[in-house]
């Protein structure tokens, strides 16, 4: 076991973890942050996406060791069910979730884009979001929701 201090959603958490534990497990099993989901465990689907120092990462293949001193942000930092953040509200308005399993990852990848580029065009959104997969097929609504926050309606039907 190793002692680690992770900074998650703005607060420092002292943890005792297996030295090879990926971030996703620490978030879900040790910190009770169940927003990020386990999808494939291979960094191929994006359900586990969180932000590390402003960059979207697949938390299922990101080791906890090495994250000390970095800012980890999960979907829980964007808002709550009672008070959803602007991006979350847009996902609700556009009914972007069907089963919802991919949505936490989608939100965090989109959030990372919007913080770097508040007004991305649709092509940029599509390119940026391409690595996160949705089995229900709500990609077009997800793109619409992000476009809404980006300040244009988006042409996706």
């Amino acid at each position: 076991m190793t002692q680690l201090t992770l900074n998650v959603n703005g607060s420092a958490k002292a943890l005792e973890l297996e030295p090879d534990m990926p971030l996703l497990y620490a978030l879900r099993n040790h910190l009770g942050l169940n927003g990020a989901k386990y999808g494939c465990g291979l960094g191929q689907c994006g359900a586990c996406t969180v932000m590390v120092d402003g960059q979207p990462v697949f938390s299922c293949v990101t080791p906890c060791a090495g994250l000390e001193g970095k800012q980890v942000r999960t979907v829980e930092s964007l808002g709550s069910a009672e008070r959803p953040g602007p991006l979350q509200q847009a996902f609700i308005d556009k009914q972007a979730a069907q089963c919802g399993y991919c949505i936490a990852g989608m939100l965090m990848r989109a959030q990372a884009l919007l913080e770097q580029n508040p007004h991305p065009d649709e092509q940029t959104i599509r390119q940026h979001m391409a690595v996160n997969l949705c089995r229900c097929g709500t990609h077009l609504r997800i793109i619409e929701a992000i476009s809404l926050v980006a300040g244009h309606t988006g042409s996706a039907a």
Partner: protein, 421 residues
């Protein structure tokens, strides 16, 4: 009297020099034509293959852009160039180019209007193509849809922003005639050499470049670099410690995952996807030619059996492998068992004397290409810090080639992070 004669001589020499330089740096325009409308269908079909073998679309199509409409930035040590529109649009493409104008561009690097093209356009290789192939490529390009897409402004540094200076570069490096088959070699070998040296322009990346961006003579296919990737030497591939067999190389060239070597990534990925669209005989011919090339230098690579990650191995590199890589690359991972993917220790990236391709692949991953099959790997640039990358690379290198560690890992990783900015 004497001094006057001297001055006349100097003036005459200066005039001759100036005239010579002007002749060297000036090329006439070739008259524009109406876009030709009709080409023989079989010729157009042959031309499609030539254009694919020449990798024209790899540079002349930008991501998300229209096919062959240009606009891809090419970052060179001399500034940034943008590829141009080679669709038959009369204003912004090559729609008003006659076949002689096209052939002059392909063989001498001169645009229809007489301006010098930069040697990033591989006319030093295309000049070795047959007349028939060039005419076929012309027919194919002129038959495609015209796209209105004006050339973007290049950002070349002084003095390379002065195009006529390319004439001096040409004087030094523009040579080589149309390739003719070597009588003593089989036809597949000849076809392979033609594809490699002509349209395929492999040496453009796989040979080291000199200070002014020309392939170094005497270092043909001895390895170079492109976009931060190591373009490995293509010499002595059959006799390395981790040798290439013909069938392996054919599959690699066609974008497959190959046991014992891995798969094409980085700038080689679009090249191999293009080769996969050509008849398999072309990749077979290239493999036959390349495997016949001998290495001058002795390659010191040592083949090692893949060792599984021992459960007791608590080294930082081994722990990182377990948390970040094992899901796909451990010997029991489904991808390995079901898909038959090679052990990392066997990949050319880990066997190479340079750590670059391994590090590049880990940092950037292998992106999915819409509509193409092929392996996908996530990027780890934001998931692993430099210390972790160093530990992971050292650990995997030790497994691949025991006793031959990469020595410059930290500085290479630091440099690559800077390049990515």
């Amino acid at each position: 009297m004497k001094s006057r004669r001297l001055w006349t001589g100097v003036a005459a020499l200066a005039l001759m020099g100036a005239t010579g330089a002007a002749m060297l740096m000036w090329r006439p325009a070739i008259a524009p034509i109406e876009r030709p409308q009709r080409f023989d269908a079989a010729q157009v079909q042959r031309g499609a293959r030539v254009v694919e073998a020449g990798d024209c679309a790899v540079c002349h199509t930008r991501p998300g852009g229209q096919y062959l409409a240009g606009g891809l930035p090419l970052v060179t040590p001399f500034g940034t160039l943008y590829s141009t529109n080679i669709t038959p649009d009369p204003q912004t493409g090559i729609g008003s180019w006659s076949l002689p104008a096209f052939e002059r561009a392909m063989r001498e690097g001169i645009s229809r209007d007489g301006h010098f093209l930069y040697p990033a356009f591989p006319y030093v290789h295309y000049r070795r193509m047959t007349d028939a192939d060039i005419a076929d490529a012309y027919a194919y390009l002129m038959s495609g849809p015209a796209v209105d897409s004006p050339a973007q402004q290049n950002h070349m540094n002084f003095p390379m922003n002065i195009r006529p200076l390319v004439s001096f570069w040409n004087l030094l490096f523009l040579h080589g005639d149309v390739l003719t088959p070597a009588a003593q070699q089989p036809s597949a070998w000849n076809r392979g050499r033609y594809l490699v040296d002509g349209p395929g322009h492999c040496a453009g990346c796989h040979s080291p470049l000199n200070l002014i961006g020309a392939e170094q003579s005497g270092e043909y296919l001895a390895g170079g670099s492109v976009d931060g990737w190591d373009a490995p030497s293509l010499l002595g591939m059959a006799r390395r410690a981790n040798p290439w067999r013909q069938d392996q190389l054919v599959r690699y060239l066609r974008a497959e995952v190959v046991e014992g070597h891995g798969t094409a990534a980085g700038p080689m990925l679009p090249v191999s996807l293009g080769l996969a669209r050509l008849p398999i005989s072309d990749a077979q011919a290239i493999a036959e030619y390349l495997l016949s090339l001998q290495s001058v230098a002795t390659v010191k690579e040592i083949h090692a059996d893949a060792t599984n990650v021992a459960a007791t191995d608590q080294s930082p590199g081994a722990l990182l492998f377990t948390s970040s890589c094992a899901g796909c690359h451990a010997s029991a991972a489904p991808m390995r068992v079901i898909d038959g993917r090679p052990a990392l220790a066997h990949t050319s990236a880990l066997q190479s004397p340079s750590a670059r391709n391994f590090l590049k692949t880990v940092l950037e991953g292998i992106p999915a290409i819409p509509g193409e099959p092929g392996p996908v790997m996530p990027p780890f640039a934001a998931s692993l810090d430099n210390q972790q990358l160093t530990a992971l690379a050292s650990y995997l290198r030790q497994q691949a080639t025991p006793g031959q560690p990469w020595t410059d890992l930290s500085s290479t990783i630091e440099a690559m992070r800077q390049e990515a900015k």
